[in-house]
Assembly symmetry: C2
Homo-oligomer: 340 residues x 2
DNA sequence: AAAAATACTGCAAACGTTTGCAGTATTAAT
DNA sequence: ATTAATACTGCAAACGTTTGCAGTATTTTT
């Protein structure tokens, strides 16, 4: 007797379960949806389904219903930094707890067009963008039928795109930070920035300095990494004497700068050079650093994202919403203590 | 004339494009697959598709073909640590570069059953597991038709499950690390561990100590976080005098321990107490810490995962493969310098 | 120049689910 | 006891794509 076993085990589908349970496939569907179903038959079906190892196919379901539970999260293509990491960590958990499945995408400003298409192919229930390098109008054009949530600090009122925004007010945290530095007599400010969000932060600080007849005396562009902060700070100090303050576009670079100033240049922080960051990542509060920084409340961002997402799922025609997130000044010992 | 616009814009499908281009839907499909298609008609179709903003629906495609380009990545439900973060960062980029879409899942040992089912619902092309708390036989039973890749240090030869494994040989890196501590005269070893992978590391170290007639004189269980390393190290030092070495199950806890020993207890590392970690996360090499640790080459893990995945996609019947990853001793200044 | 191979293209049947509609059995209302 | 409402269940048509088969037009071979 020849072996008739097929090479690959076929996936069991609702028809198989229907036969085994003596009902129609429609009833299987209703049993799993738990709607319009006799609780007795439901139990029966679930038990049999369990025995057979059946679970409804999410692709078929999504195709049929014209919607699914996928959520695209879009980050930059370069290495993720600590802040993005924290966001991804918490967000993936929260999304899952609400029944969604996070689909990670890495996108660069170049060649984004094809990639965005391939994201749209999944017809995700929503898109969450942590990346202001992207062409926002391209996004809103491509994702018209999904919830689109953009988290950034770079909002231009001119954008008439239909997306929910979480706009981060960096001024709220940076103002007291800079004021305190000024109060302590710092005059020679320098800047280590990056791309994207960094330009907005620099602009905010520049305006505050400008009102005090000051401006950055030198600046460098990093890539948000510890290593670039380390190197760029050395560059600044060697090129420009009398530096008394290095402000960084994020904490990772600031930590790199601190280590460079202390361990390579053998200078004191903050006595010789004050250093500030932005984000308040966990390492910023470690006693080896005690970095003065600005916090964007990540939990507040996450819960707003989830809230935006859930409400828009219920009523898709809601007009675009804007959440104004106030950043907070976190004074620590990497900048001199003012008596405010 | 009444407004006849439908409330929601319908997704344009291949039939719409077919009509606009004057061909059949089958030809649209072939144009995007770029197989059996006249290059002239293909260009024509792609241009029209582009104008209409069409892109093939991944769900319908996946359903029809019985396979898709999703890859499930499974992590523990607790906060991700730095090592997992690095893996996720690199892996998501690599997967995407190979045309796959990473789907993140967080799983705990409890209530994993339903969640695993909901992962299986997506019929992902592969599953990559960074979590040895999971019931491996449940996984291999549920994901029989997908590539299953398990990364851990906890492999038991008894497992007859059909999955590719990356087995991490922690002994290779830990042996010289412990030997050097012994060489420098350390005798009072303590341990800060965690769940899962940590037990294997502790076992490996214990065996090495045992051969030298020694054993851990005290130990605590943390949760792989900096904070837990900080607190547990204080606990150990206060409870047990004469401690000269604290070994930690990962770097994050070791960094916490270093800060606690130095800044709270005002002791010297490594003179008073040597501290070692495991993972070699970026922070371990920062000059403020210089943590002695053990490295698992993340790039090697990633490329092996990708390799396993791609080859198994081509030939699914390949028998389970095992990659033996040798960990490496990374001596730095948080442990005393031996002359080996 | 006839035959054979090749290159495209269209038709139609899947893939596995969901849901409106209709039908039946059961319960509630009068 | 008759009518009306309710509770389930099955039927069959979608959802949007892919692919084997067959058919036609074109090219190559002899």
């Amino acid at each position: 007797m020849p072996d008739k076993t097929p090479p690959h085990k076929k996936q069991i589908n609702s028809i198989d379960v229907a036969k085994a349970a003596g009902v129609s496939p429609a009833t299987i569907s209703r049993a799993f949806a738990n709607r319009n179903i006799n609780s007795k038959t439901r139990e029966h079906i679930l038990r049999i389904a369990n025995e057979l190892g059946y679970y409804p196919d999410a692709l078929a379901s999504g195709l049929n219903k014209g919607k699914n539970k996928l959520i695209a999260i879009i980050f930059d293509e370069r290495n993720l930094n600590e802040w993005e990491f924290l966001m991804l960590d918490k967000l993936s958990t929260q999304l899952q707890n609400n029944g969604y499945f996070p689909l990670i995408h890495r996108l660069s400003s170049t060649s984004q067009y094809e990639r965005v298409k391939s994201i749209a192919a999944w017809k995700t229930a929503g898109i969450i963008v942590f990346n202001d390098l992207l062409d926002a109008s391209l996004l809103s054009k491509t994702f018209m039928t999904s919830s689109l949530i953009i988290v950034n600090t770079n909002f231009k009122a001119g954008n008439k795109i239909s997306a929910d925004h979480i706009i981060i007010d960096d001024h709220n945290g940076l103002k007291p930070l800079v004021d305190n530095l000024l109060l302590c007599g710092r005059k020679n400010f320098t800047w280590i920035g990056g791309t994207g969000v960094s330009t907005q932060r620099k602009k905010t600080i520049s305006q505050i300095l400008h009102k005090n007849k000051l401006s950055f005396i030198d600046s460098e562009q990093g890539d948000y990494s510890y290593d670039s902060g380390y190197m760029k700070s050395l560059l600044l100090c060697r090129r420009t004497p009398h530096i008394d303050t290095i402000m960084c576009a994020n904490d990772s670079m600031a930590l790199g700068a601190m280590d460079a100033i202390r361990h390579t240049l053998k200078l004191k922080v903050p006595e010789d050079i004050a250093i500030t960051g932005y984000d308040d990542i966990p390492q910023a509060s470690w006693p080896s650093y005690n970095l003065t920084t600005v916090r964007e409340n990540t939990d507040e961002i996450i819960s707003t994202v989830i809230n935006f997402l859930l409400t828009r799922q219920k009523s898709p025609e809601t007009p675009p919403r804007f959440y104004d997130l106030k950043s907070i000044y976190i004074p620590r010992t990497s900048s001199p203590a003012g008596n405010m």
